[in-house]
């Protein structure tokens, strides 16, 4: 599998996700390290996966992800996504995906109005996707969040459609898997932490699976996501 990590000015988790992907491809002995694509480079080589990393693209100065969504490279990402190339946006990447219209809804300021960096528990809502095939449905995993604007909202009808189509990927939960408001770090509607597009080829999530994909860092619950992607796309 060949993946591309898009680097916007202000991206700061680009290397982290590159490492997680490279380690996953090395474990499967398939494909090489991901290529890093600069935001001004709309003409990058054919890849099987595109990742929009976390960070503060363009300083998040207008609205998180709003300016990145207008960059030359995003026109190409949208074109490829519409042709079925899998795309994953983590944190700021999720915000960019909603701003670019590849995912429904929006991410607004955390309910407590503060930046939040801590481990959270996520309930995996489906194993029926490219991204979550290595998890069990209903499984609880622990990965960190680190964001100021991760409070997911969408219109009621949109939300019902997403539920019906199984577009919810991850929800914030208590360690035993129950969905409580205490377990919801940012006020997201229905404890939503990550969603798919209709075809489940695009995933956006606020938590950072790449930050707990290595036992040396205190956990590896994020690792199956990368392993599963490499396996599915190789």
């Amino acid at each position: 599998m060949k993946a591309a990590v898009i680097v916007f000015p202000g991206s700061n988790c680009d290397r982290d996700v590159q490492v997680a992907l490279a380690q996953a491809t090395a474990r499967h002995a398939s494909g090489g390290a991901p290529i890093m694509v600069w935001h001004k480079d709309a003409d990058f080589e054919k890849v099987e996966l595109i990742v929009l990393p976390g960070g503060f693209s363009y300083g998040d100065y207008l609205r998180c992800g709003a300016m990145a969504a207008q960059s030359p490279v995003m026109k190409e990402v949208v074109r490829r996504a519409n042709r079925g190339v899998p795309v994953m946006g983590i944190c700021n990447g999720f915000q960019i995906l909603t701003e670019a219209g590849l995912l429904p809804g929006a991410l607004i300021r955390n309910a407590n109005l503060k930046f939040i960096c801590r481990d959270v528990n996520l309930r995996v809502e489906t194993s029926q996707s490219l991204f979550t095939g290595r998890y069990e449905e209903g499984q609880t995993i622990r990965v960190p969040v680190a964001h100021h604007d991760g409070n997911y909202i969408a219109g009621d009808e949109e939300m019902e459609r997403m539920e019906d189509r199984g577009q919810i990927a991850f929800r914030y939960c208590a360690p035993d898997g129950t969905l409580t408001s205490d377990a919801n770090p940012n006020g997201s509607a229905r404890n939503i932490a990550g969603i798919f597009n209709e075809t489940k080829t695009v995933l956006g999530l606020m938590p950072h699976p790449e930050r707990l994909a290595d036992p040396a860092l205190g956990g590896s619950d994020g690792r199956p996501l990368f392993d599963g992607l490499v396996e599915a796309l190789s």
Partner: protein
């Protein structure tokens, strides 16, 4: 340009004697621009005029030190061709006036000091001191400073992994914000500010110059009086997004062979950066101010030279490399301008609109700055306070709960939750341990990093307090299994023109020097912040110590968390039960008096080397240094981190101090460790001549102290976790 009158000279913070010196150097009266340049270059902040003679007494060398003080940051060898580059710096005055921007730009400035030398920043820490929690400004200042540190560090993508927060009424009018950055560089790619090559182009990169922060260095060199907030216009505004681009662009340029010398524009902006570069190279410099990228029209030479606009660097390039460099900075959408060249004249010539607007000799200004041996009074050390003179609590468990919930000991989770402490995916030891542990990217080795200082000790006995700050930093690094390498010091004191303040400064420096020598722990960088006082009241002496150690293999580290039930708990080090200047005395007995615990550097070293050996040998399962609150507090923290109870039992020893002094005394050179069996540890300790005793066992869901009822971990956790969020007005449970 306006006249240089005695009032203008005084406004620039220059004494009559200093002005006479300027006249002597120039052989004429300075114009306003030149006066402004002298003013910032000779400010306490830039020239260290009151502290220099004492700083020279600190040990600064060791076989592993590559660059000691004098560069932008200290550089130490960490093996495999790599170097750790680090420094701590204050941003106290701006943070009191405008907490968000003051703290944010403090982070930005220290980051630049580190990446200027070729290092990729890998960790930020901060040492913060606020006023009494009941003071009306404390909440506002704490909220703003924490948000500012997070706002900047989170955006640049460098993890904020540790630090300290204290509260004391002594900081009511003058908080302390000390920021530390650690970076990693290849040893063969370390850059300095020493210019060379007459004719080489001088290049300006980064943000444009605005009118912000003019005379920040001068402000930082004076006391506050009434109306300090009116100085808000001298506080700079940070742009972490531009800083992130600047880091990437500089590191990209540093990978080429284009750079001769590079220097960030910090305090005193373009003035001090260009002066320093030329001065270190024994050269002159000519700048064409028409070429300086400006944010607004009509800026005067005075404003351009003294602006402290952020995110700017000066680079001397090799001839012919201008296009290469310009291409890199344009790729990152940053300003790039050739603003001058090096000359052999030894002078700084400033031109604008074809006219010379300033002409100053460099050496007398940069290197012949005033140096004062200020009079000082030896500060008397507070008398020893016998443990028996301090009342025992009715209930030790209640006393422990009170201590764990007090502002100086409660959990700092509310703070570190707002800092991205995991970006870069190398944070192995997160906030809340003895030292942060950050993996060296792509290896199985790591750096351990900490900041420490106990101002109430420094106040009671400056020399002991200075030594204790170093010893505690050394101990915190040791407690995670690291070999301590070197120190950066951030010396925060009041007005040095007052002999008692100077006495505190001298005492602390002497203590730091003794401890650094005894522990082979040299000072490689630092910063002095004086005039920290408001309306004539000085802050408690606060020599914050930042320190870095090396962990050779991540398989051999320790954390504070208890790991398994049924293990033995062993206390390493001697306990005499020192309660003088302790938190127990202050919080539970309501008294502030007595000498701090003595610092026995030989014992410190012996006990620490022993504990490090146990960790590296894989013989223990948890380790925690003992400090504020003593043994009982340390064990409570270990239990909370491990979500596992423990029972504490004093050893049968006729020499044991009174129970409350044993539990809460703050004797130094001590560690608490957990091991499957105490026997091997005790035997090894006997062989090494290290005091050690089994003091308890792990297990259950409560902490049991002698003289008190068991405390369930949930109650312990509530006491420890709730104070700060409740104080900051948050609802609990999230």
């Amino acid at each position: 340009m306006s006249e240089v009158t005695p009032e203008v000279i005084a406004e620039h913070g220059l004494s009559g004697e200093e002005y006479e010196r300027i006249l002597g150097i120039l052989g004429r009266a300075p114009n306003l621009l030149e006066l402004g340049i002298f003013s910032v270059m000779w400010s306490e902040h830039c020239s260290y005029k009151s502290s220099k003679v004492w700083l020279k007494t600190l040990p600064t060398t060791a076989p592993w030190v590559i660059h000691g003080p004098g560069e932008n940051a200290g550089v130490v060898d960490i093996g495999e061709g790599l170097a750790a580059i680090f420094k701590m710096e204050s941003h106290n005055h701006p943070s009191f006036i405008e907490p968000y921007q003051g703290a944010a730009t403090g982070v930005g400035g220290i980051l630049r000091d580190v990446f200027t030398m070729g290092a990729r920043p890998v960790a930020n820490l901060n040492a913060l001191r606020f006023g009494d929690p009941s003071h009306p400004k404390t909440r506002h200042l704490l909220a703003g400073v924490v948000e500012g540190i997070g706002g900047y560090g989170n955006c640049v993508g460098v993890p904020t992994v540790g630090g300290e927060v204290n509260f004391d009424a002594g900081y009511n009018g003058n908080i302390l914000v000390n920021a530390m950055t650690v970076g990693i560089a290849r040893q063969d790619r370390i850059f300095t500010s020493q210019a060379s090559g007459i004719g080489n182009p001088v290049v300006y990169v980064g943000s444009k110059t605005g009118r912000d922060g003019i005379h920040g260095a001068t402000m930082a060199s004076a006391e506050f009086g009434e109306g300090a907030e009116e100085k808000r216009p001298t506080v700079q505004v940070g742009d972490p997004f531009t800083e992130k681009l600047l880091i990437e662009a500089c590191l990209e340029l540093m990978a080429t062979d284009a750079i001769v010398a590079i220097q960030d524009m910090g305090a005193a902006g373009l003035t001090s950066s260009s002066f320093e570069m030329a001065s270190k190279g024994g050269l002159g410099v000519e700048l064409d101010l028409d070429c300086v990228p400006c944010r607004e029209d009509g800026m005067t030479p005075y404003e351009m030279m003294l602006s402290e606009s952020q995110e700017r660097m000066v680079i001397v390039l090799k001839p012919g490399r201008e296009d290469l460099a310009q291409g890199i900075f344009e790729k990152w959408d940053l300003d790039f301008a050739i603003i001058g060249h090096l000359t052999g004249s030894g002078r700084m010539i400033l031109k604008m609109h074809g006219e010379t607007v300033g002409d100053l000799p460099i050496d007398p200004l940069a290197q012949a700055a005033p140096e004062y041996r200020r009079p000082y009074e030896d500060m008397p050390e507070a008398p020893f306070l016998a443990p028996s003179a301090v009342p025992a609590p009715a209930d030790t468990s209640a006393a422990l709960l009170q201590l764990l919930a007090c502002p100086d000991l409660c959990s700092r989770r509310w703070v570190w939750d707002q800092y991205d402490h995991m970006v870069m995916a190398d944070t192995v030891g997160r906030p809340g341990g003895d030292a942060a542990v950050v993996r060296i990217h792509g290896t199985k080795r790591a750096l351990a990093i900490t900041t420490d200082c106990t101002p109430r000790y420094c106040q009671a006995a400056p020399r002991t307090g200075g030594a204790q700050a170093v010893a505690e930093a050394w101990r915190n690094l040791t407690a995670v299994g690291a070999r301590p390498l070197a120190v950066t010091d951030n010396l925060n004191f009041g007005n040095p023109e007052r002999p008692e303040v100077m006495g505190q400064f001298v005492g602390c420096i002497q203590g730091i020097g003794e401890a650094c020598r005894a522990l082979d722990f040299p000072v490689v960088s630092g910063n002095v912040s004086l005039y920290n006082e408001t309306n004539g009241k000085a802050i408690p002496p606060t020599p914050a110590i930042g320190a870095v150690g090396l962990i050779e293999t991540l398989d051999r580290t320790a954390t504070i968390a208890l790991k398994a039930p049924g293990e033995d708990i062993v206390l390493i080090g001697a306990t005499e039960g020192h309660l003088g200047a302790s938190l127990y005395l202050r919080e539970v007995a309501g008294r502030r008096e007595g000498a701090p615990p003595p610092v026995d550097l030989a014992a410190e070293r012996r006990n620490g080397d022993f504990v490090r050996g146990l960790i590296q040998g894989g013989q223990i399962t948890a380790c925690h240094d003992l400090s504020d609150g003593g043994l009982a507090v340390a064990l409570a923290e270990m239990a909370l981190a491990g979500k596992l109870g423990a029972t504490l039992t004093p050893p049968e020893d006729p020499g044991l101090p009174p129970l409350h002094a044993w539990l809460f005394g703050e004797d130094q050179a001590r560690y608490l460790i957990a091991a499957a069996s105490a026997d091997l540890v005790l035997e090894a300790a006997r062989a090494a001549g290290v005091p050690a005793a089994k003091v308890g066992t792990t297990g259950g869901d409560a902490l049991t102290l002698p003289g008190g009822a068991p405390i369930y971990l949930n109650d312990l956790r509530s006491a420890h976790e709730n104070w700060l969020p409740v104080y900051m007005g948050e609802s609990l449970g999230n």
